[in-house]
Point group: C2
């Protein structure tokens, strides 16, 4: 039986995408080769990469002023790539709203004067600092934010207006809501949440910013190199890119990000409404900043939290354990989580509450 999988990433993928990938795993497009066996220089494969890029451009309305590339190493590698491509004056601002935002900041500090100009660490990252009041510095190379914080279940309700290019890690929310790419200098996202199996990372970078990476930047981390070679500078992570393309095709057919966003708001709304109306479950995030992708919640005790996770798993609602930094539960309800999954979770929550209140 297929589980409803609430994992934070790698995470659930659309069933029909998995079925298509399954078929192509033995014979891709009648080539007599698996999608995993085909050369990345084969036209059948470069067509996949081109289609993936083109679908991303269409869905996110990305102009040719931006490079759209598929790279390896996850967002954690981009934490270094950001300063190595952009930090010409060795000065950058970071907003720290969670664990990964903090890691990005620490990595930036390796390469220059990185400053944490605002943080929500004072309240265990349960909110996003008011973007209008952040004291951004003059003369920085960029401002870095993490737009959705997977562990703490927050997201930016609005984005800061900055003089320096705005760089955003959107790993856990890319393609889940409409964004205006033109407001950003760089957007990057590990794909293993909303888009693909682990192993590919999307970078959307304004071409005018990336022409002159630092001398110490590894060639593979130079966005301009990956842009010039259309993500085929070396052997790319073919299978994750291919699955990403299938997911993007499906998203387009569904009506695009506007429709997906509505579905996501609906799913998250069901869950938050239920939690807010229950005396048993709590979500501690300020309402304005609640993520529609990651919903952390707790019962009245750590013991009950443990019991919840275990008995939910027995009913096919899996990977609900919260991150070790915060405990409790977390339901990651990415694009591929069906409404039925959220409804099944709520039904289970009702039952568990009745049995344990």
């Amino acid at each position: 039986m297929r589980a409803f999988n609430f994992a934070a990433g790698p995470s659930t993928l659309p069933l029909e995408v998995l079925q298509e990938a399954q078929r192509d795993l033995l014979d891709f497009s009648g080539t007599g080769m698996s999608i995993t066996e085909i050369s990345h220089r084969n036209k059948a494969f470069s067509a996949v990469v081109e289609e993936g890029e083109s679908l991303l451009r269409g869905l996110l309305n990305i102009s040719d002023d931006y490079a759209v590339i598929f790279v390896q190493g996850g967002a954690s590698t981009q934490f270094a790539a950001v300063p190595l491509n952009l930090m010409h004056h060795r000065k950058a601002d970071y907003v720290v709203t969670g664990n990964f935002a903090k890691k990005a900041f620490e990595e930036g500090s390796i390469y220059g004067d990185a400053a944490c100009v605002a943080s929500s660490g004072d309240k265990t990252f349960t909110y996003i600092p008011d973007v209008k009041k952040i004291p951004f510095r003059k003369g920085t190379d960029y401002v870095h934010i993490c737009s959705n914080n997977t562990i703490f279940g927050t997201r930016y309700a609005e984005f800061p207006e900055t003089e320096a290019p705005l760089v955003a890690d959107m790993s856990s929310e890319i393609l889940s809501r409409e964004i205006d790419v033109s407001k950003f200098g760089v957007i990057y996202a590990g794909a293993q949440k909303n888009l693909a199996p682990a192993g590919v990372t999307i970078v959307i970078a304004k071409r005018s910013l990336i022409g002159d990476p630092l001398e110490i930047c590894p060639t593979m981390l130079k966005w301009k190199v990956q842009d010039k070679d259309k993500s085929l500078y070396n052997t790319p992570p073919c299978f994750p890119i291919y699955v990403a393309t299938l997911v993007l095709r499906r998203l387009k057919a569904l009506g695009g990000i506007k429709v997906m966003n509505e579905i996501n708001e609906y799913k998250a709304g069901l869950l938050y409404d239920f939690i807010d109306n229950s005396p048993f479950y709590t979500n501690g995030v300020e309402k304005k900043y609640r993520s529609i992708m990651n919903v952390p919640f707790v019962t009245p005790s750590a013991e009950l939290d443990d019991a919840f996770v275990k008995s939910a798993a027995k009913e096919g609602l899996v990977s609900l354990k919260g991150h070790r930094l915060v405990g409790g539960m977390r339901a990651s309800i990415y694009n591929a989580m069906p409404v039925e999954g959220v409804k099944a979770l709520i039904e289970f929550m009702k039952k568990f509450e009745k049995e344990n209140a």
Copy 2:
């Protein structure tokens, strides 16, 4: 019909491995989740990583003095990781025996005094310089070689004895022949040739060498970080690692690398013998240095080469076009290429020769 796929990488995988992966692509080990959907923190997945590492250690007889890690970014990323982890005195020697050896050398030059101490570029990389006569310098941090040269079809018959740690890119021959890991400081290999789908790279590194990476080394490129976290510092490329583990299991069941090496010598021997006895086909590599993984060859003309590639493809012998740097044909006959594939290729070569000689 399944093709015999002679691609240089990504390349053919064992059919039974693909079939197993196909099954697990919808439901891995009865979890109700795809292998691509399962969290990397799930015990079912960390068990896969541990098994992969353990199989590699067993097959290559790797002691605990060495880290064995799965990373991202391909060998091209390791071209930078090598100096960034090892180049404390900013001085290293490189032996340039082909395209990738040269790229590694160029990347090393970014970080310090990298010297090309020997090259076979004078004869289009058709041999390996005599390892006993290479003028290695004193006081270098490492010596870098590429043990098998995919494009040119050469391999080291013996390895140099060096004072500095020997670092080898073994992407296109790892697990194809027995090696004494203890003679090396670091071995790395993109896995998309002998081991797995593209997207994972193996690094085997002597732990005593990797404790103190350069300050400018991105965290994700620090081997000691990946070693400490057992390849799970961040989300790893789960699917390629999983397939690698299946391939390693199969290699062990087959009898290990000794047996595989014998099969590979047999396959390569069939092909080289046929070429050497034909007035029509030529392989220009010095016999002592011929790769048993990549066999480049030409007919008497570029026009016939083109015709060969096209008509071979029609008979299900695919991806035989040589690299653009050398032209002609190249048959990559990695571990997963069955003997029947090589025999079918030879039969086709006979027929083509008869029709075109």
